[in-house]
């Protein structure tokens, strides 16, 4: 028997271990990499080797790995998340807005994908005519196989042809002059396309998962017993089948957050959404180490938070865990 607090504490400790490991691991990897941010500057004849050495020591690039890691860790505690060499400012200030933008995108898509997918899963498992169900399954199979790149292109084509929705970006060019109440609908209009792509990319896996786990539960003896007792279909579904089928679904919630984040890198860079993904890509190419590591750690924070939430949900839904 473990209490909720102990359970949550253990999960949180595991999360901390992962965050620590991920950030240290990416530091070690970046140390192993050939070249650094000043690789380009080295080729520039106007910059003398002396000043290169001076610039490096100014940013602590000549320090040993452990010292660099501790420096970064300390700046994380201060909320600066390291120093971006290419933007010449603390990474934290750089990340803040983009983090909000990415969260706006992924949280909306996650909520939408889960709501639609779970209802589709219930419908696939329990209701609907056979023909419709077959069609829906075919559509889902097609969606699973469609890469996000293709989805992006298809939706951009549709948007541009119809001319109703903006194809990329996050706001109209005239947004600095806009009033606050005009900005929100403007951003919402820009949000439609990327959210649709992200939702569609995450949806089929969840829907299939939901359908199969509900189908399995509906076949279980306790459901057949309940049905034999004359419990109506809707009550059977909501009160008996769904809570029992929830376990594998909730367990996969954390994973789906990761899939969505991956997809958002692509969608952000292809649709010009100013989020973490685009910055990550840019920093990767420029070897802006602190930016890369901070974003990677942040993405691990999302994933860890996602699995933490799903762990807590599991605890409240599944009494078996409490007895472990």
């Amino acid at each position: 028997m473990q209490t909720a607090a102990i359970y949550a504490g253990r999960r949180a400790l595991r999360g901390l271990y992962i965050l620590f490991g991920v950030s240290l691991g990416s530091f070690i990897l970046s140390e192993l990499a050939p070249g650094d941010f000043y690789g380009e500057a080295r080729l520039n004849p106007q910059i003398s080797p002396d000043s290169l050495v001076r610039m490096k020591s100014e940013h602590g690039l000549d320090q040993p790995l452990i010292a660099k890691y501790c420096y970064w860790l300390e700046s994380v505690v201060r909320g600066e998340w390291g120093f971006s060499l290419s933007y010449n400012m603390p990474v934290g200030r750089l990340l803040w807005w983009r983090l909000l933008n990415t969260l706006l995108l992924t949280v909306t898509a996650t909520v939408l994908a889960w709501v639609v997918a779970v209802s589709a899963g219930i419908w696939l498992a329990a209701g609907g005519r056979t023909v419709h169900r077959l069609l829906a399954r075919g559509g889902l199979a097609l969606l699973v196989a469609t890469p996000e790149v293709l989805l992006v292109l298809i939706f951009q084509l549709i948007a541009a042809r119809s001319g109703y929705l903006p194809v990329g970006g996050m706001s109209s060019p005239e947004w600095p002059q806009m009033k606050l109440w005009n900005i929100a609908p403007d951003v919402a209009r820009h949000l439609v396309l990327p959210v649709t792509v992200l939702t569609l990319s995450a949806l089929p896996a969840i829907a299939m998962h939901a359908a199969s786990s509900i189908t399995e539960v509906l076949d279980a003896p306790f459901i057949r017993g309940a049905r034999a007792n004359g419990i109506p279909q809707w009550r059977l579904l909501w009160r008996h089948a769904l809570p029992a089928a929830a376990h594998p679904l909730i367990a996969s919630f954390g994973l789906s957050v990761g899939t969505l984040l991956s997809a958002s890198v692509l969608v952000e860079s292809a649709m010009g959404w100013p989020g973490l993904g685009g910055l990550m890509l840019e920093a990767t190419l420029e070897r802006d180490v602190h930016v890369v590591i901070s974003i990677v750690t942040l993405s691990a924070v999302f994933l860890v938070a996602g699995s933490f939430v799903s762990d807590l949900l599991l605890y409240s839904v599944d009494p078996r865990i409490r007895r472990e």
Binding site: I18, G21, V22, G25, S26, L29, S30, L32, A33, P34, G35, A141, L142, V144, A145, T146, P147, E148, V149, L150, L153, Q156, L157, A160, R161, V167, G258, T259, L261, S262, A263, V265, L266, S269, A270, M280, L281, T284, L285, R287, V292, I295, V296, S299, A300, L303, V304
Partner: protein
């Protein structure tokens, strides 16, 4: 369509594609980088059987395109038929990287051209680029899958069989790499390696990265399989009779791993083909003029191209049946496992 028919279709499509990709030099009418600057954005060539005079030809023929001066608008000039010829000589290529040849399966006499999928902005034959791109993308998927499955089997078996410290170290590391969205992980590792220019070096780098980054998922699955297999009576019995670890692993545990690996393989291949496409699409994989499905997709990213020249999307849209076929095979394998016929 019954499941069997779909499976046969999937296998047929994959077989065709792989044969086409391996023999890309032979099956494609021109080289992937060969430019024909006077025919940018030419639409797909049409195959005719009936000429303007109404006579029927047994051997199909094509007409030459003539460009309206200063535009990319073409019209067919059917004054003279150019019959489709087989085993024609053309650009030199190497088959399997060693056999030099200049025979192509089909072609037409100059000044006509044969572009099954039209041409791109440099007047390069899209069909040839598709085949050469398939060679790169399909085989990066296959090789990367081989790498990550091998790593997964080695580490998964070690962790599941020896348990204790091996298990906690290996699975602890696996958990770290699973804690990251895989594209982020891919980017971080890609950032470490030089953005080299030689296509074969880039190909090897991309394959190695995709394969190594993907080790954790199969490793975890195989570890769980080995863990349950290791607790079976016959394994314990074999051990208590003095069977060595190697003997037990090879004769008693391997047969348990195989179905898991066989179900995972097609899924991983599909995933890794997509990974290569995404890397090249983002500009981190192979670059122009080398053809890969990623660079082909990248070229339709501009709206003007996407909307005006529909044939530019042909190679990209063929990605879909390929991924679907691999997934179908994987699903079929996992169902065969549950209910063996």
């Amino acid at each position: 369509m019954s499941r069997a028919i779909r499976l046969v279709l999937a296998a047929l499509w994959l077989a065709t594609l792989h044969i086409g990709a391996i023999g890309a030099g032979f099956f494609s009418p021109s080289d992937y980088a060969e430019q024909n600057r006077s025919f940018p954005f030419a639409p797909p060539t049409r195959l005719h059987f009936v000429d303007p005079a109404g006579r029927f030809h047994v051997r199909p023929f094509v007409c030459r395109w003539s460009a309206h001066p200063g535009t990319v608008v073409y019209s067919e000039e059917c004054d003279q038929p150019f019959p489709l010829q087989f085993f024609v000589t053309g650009a030199r290529y190497r088959l399997f990287g060693m056999v030099q040849s200049h025979r192509h399966l089909f072609g037409v006499a100059s000044p006509a051209h044969i572009y099954w999928m039209g041409t791109d902005d440099f007047g390069r034959d899209q069909f040839s680029r598709f085949l050469y791109g398939a060679r790169l993308s399909l085989f990066s998927g296959l090789f990367a899958c081989a790498i990550s499955l091998t790593l997964g089997i080695i580490f998964g078996t070690l962790a599941g069989y020896y348990r204790r410290s091996a298990d906690s170290v290996i699975m602890g590391t696996a958990e770290l790499s699973l804690a990251l969205p895989w594209l982020y992980l891919l980017l971080v590792v890609r950032a470490l390696l030089p953005l080299s220019t030689s296509p074969s070096a880039v190909f090897l780098t991309v394959v190695a990265i995709i394969g190594i980054v993907g080790w954790a998922r199969p490793a975890r699955l195989i570890r769980n399989t080995v863990l349950t297999a290791g607790a079976r009576e016959y394994v314990l019995l074999a051990k208590s009779f003095g069977g060595s670890d190697l003997h037990v692993l090879l004769t008693h545990i391997m047969p348990q791993i195989r179905p898991v690996a066989m179900t995972q393989a097609p899924l991983l291949i599909a995933r890794y083909i997509l990974a290569e496409v995404i890397l090249s699409f983002l500009g981190l994989g192979v670059a122009e003029p080398t053809a890969s499905w990623g660079t082909l997709l990248k070229s339709v990213q501009q709206y003007s191209i996407l909307s005006s020249y529909w044939w530019m999307c042909l190679p990209a849209s063929l990605l879909l049946p390929t991924i679907m076929s691999y997934m179908m095979i994987s699903i079929n394998r996992s169902q065969a496992e549950i209910s063996p016929a």
